[in-house]
């Protein structure tokens, strides 16, 4: 070995040792971040549960008053008490959304697959949203879908996805607008269900197509933004669709509206 070669191998060994030390440090940081993330998840879950309990009591008390069980209310009093019930219910819905997110993000979540009619689920979600959409004079219609065979999937979770997409469309579409749900089969053997939820809302800029599916992300996150919420609805929808090995995405034109799409396999997965 020449002197130069000897020096090179010493230098190489030193470099290798330094790299190994760096890798070890990186592993430690990753472990630390993972355990902090788990703590944060646990905190979110606990705090959501603890917030729910007193809110449930507030809503029940307010309902008792609103129903006149403790004496008649005049119209102004009833309006005010109704405000407490509605505000409380809105808070409960947001807390539930956080709980659903925490659950869908954890490793514990699993799918309970059964065969069911997707058109029935769409019609149910439509019905659940009727009061909200009527308040904004929005029309919601289901287009096609009567020829879709039963879907083999987790009914509650797909209902949640549809609820979030339709709820989002109602929230962002201005008064008098239109929302539609389109169902189709696609894929080579028609073995995939494609669901489209479209609206005539403000639309989403192409730069934000990915952002809207990220947790806690809102295109306008300023305190003065016109639409409030947890910013979790679409992140949850994405997680639930991906659990089914499906895909979710958005296509949109600013000022004209948005079309959200998701796919799920129609048939049981082949193991």
């Amino acid at each position: 070995m020449t002197m130069a070669e000897g020096l090179d191998s010493v230098a190489l060994r030193k470099r290798l040792a330094a790299l190994e030390a760096q890798a070890e440090e990186a592993r430690e940081i990753i472990d630390e971040l993972k355990s902090r993330d788990a703590l944060k998840t646990q905190f979110l879950s606990n705090i959501s549960h603890d917030l729910r309990t007193p809110l449930a009591a507030i809503i029940t008390h307010a309902e008792i008053l609103r129903e006149g069980m403790l004496g008649d209310l005049n119209p102004r009093q009833r309006q005010s008490v109704s405000g407490i019930v509605n505000g409380g219910q809105q808070l409960i819905d947001m807390i539930d959304e956080i709980l659903t997110y925490v659950r869908s993000a954890s490793d514990r979540v699993s799918l309970i697959r059964t065969a069911f009619s997707i058109t029935e689920v769409v019609d149910q979600v439509k019905l659940l949203n009727e009061a909200l959409s009527a308040r904004k004079r929005l029309t919601i219609e289901r287009l096609d879908g009567d020829d879709i065979p039963p879907v083999y999937a987790d009914r509650d979770k797909l209902k949640h996805v549809l609820g979030n997409l339709i709820g989002n469309a109602i929230k962002f579409t201005p008064d008098g607008g239109r929302i539609w749900i389109k169902l189709a089969r696609r894929g080579e053997d028609g073995d995939e269900l494609l669901v489209e939820v479209g609206d005539t809302g403000p639309g989403i800029a192409r730069d934000h197509y990915d952002l809207v599916f990220r947790e806690f992300a809102q295109v306008d996150s300023s305190p003065s933004r016109p639409h409030h919420g947890t910013g979790l609805g679409l992140a949850i929808a994405r997680k639930l669709v991906e659990l089914h090995s499906g895909r979710i995405w958005v296509e949109s034109e600013l000022g004209k509206g948005s079309r959200f799409f998701f796919t799920v396999p129609l048939n049981p997965p082949r193991d």
Partner: protein, 120 residues
């Protein structure tokens, strides 16, 4: 005689609200905060309906049902209440003998109607 309801719930805020509701609706109301208290009360007297929270400081609400069943002191009807339900929880509760599983806060009109029907 007024029908008797036992509220098993660890939050006194929730118990107080439900007590107002049931008393106004004409029922006699008792309450327990823990599995141990609920089992003691259930052994002591007969209840027509038990509203059973599933998460209690000293165990699961379903433990109350097990203990009272052993002593043949089950209320006529038990309704489970929980903050968050999924299919597993529902199945366990129905298997344990609950008539239904409700999510807090239960809209009061629905709750009163359901209780009236179950006790008819």
């Amino acid at each position: 005689m007024a029908e008797r309801i036992l509220i098993v719930e660890d939050s006194t805020l929730v118990t107080d609200a439900l007590a107002v509701l049931f008393e106004e609706a004409g029922y006699t109301v008792h309450s327990a905060r823990t599995v141990a208290d609920a089992v003691d009360l259930g052994r002591d007297r007969h209840f027509d309906l038990m509203l059973l929270d599933l998460t209690l400081p000293d165990g699961s609400g379903l433990d109350v049902l097990d203990a009272l069943r052993r002593d043949k002191k089950l209320p006529r009807v038990t309704l489970a209440v929980t903050g968050h339900t999924d299919d597993d929880v529902r199945r366990d509760c129905l298997a344990a003998g609950c008539a239904d599983v409700l999510v807090k806060p239960v809209p009061i009109r629905d709750l009163l109607r359901q209780i009236e029907r179950l006790l008819a």
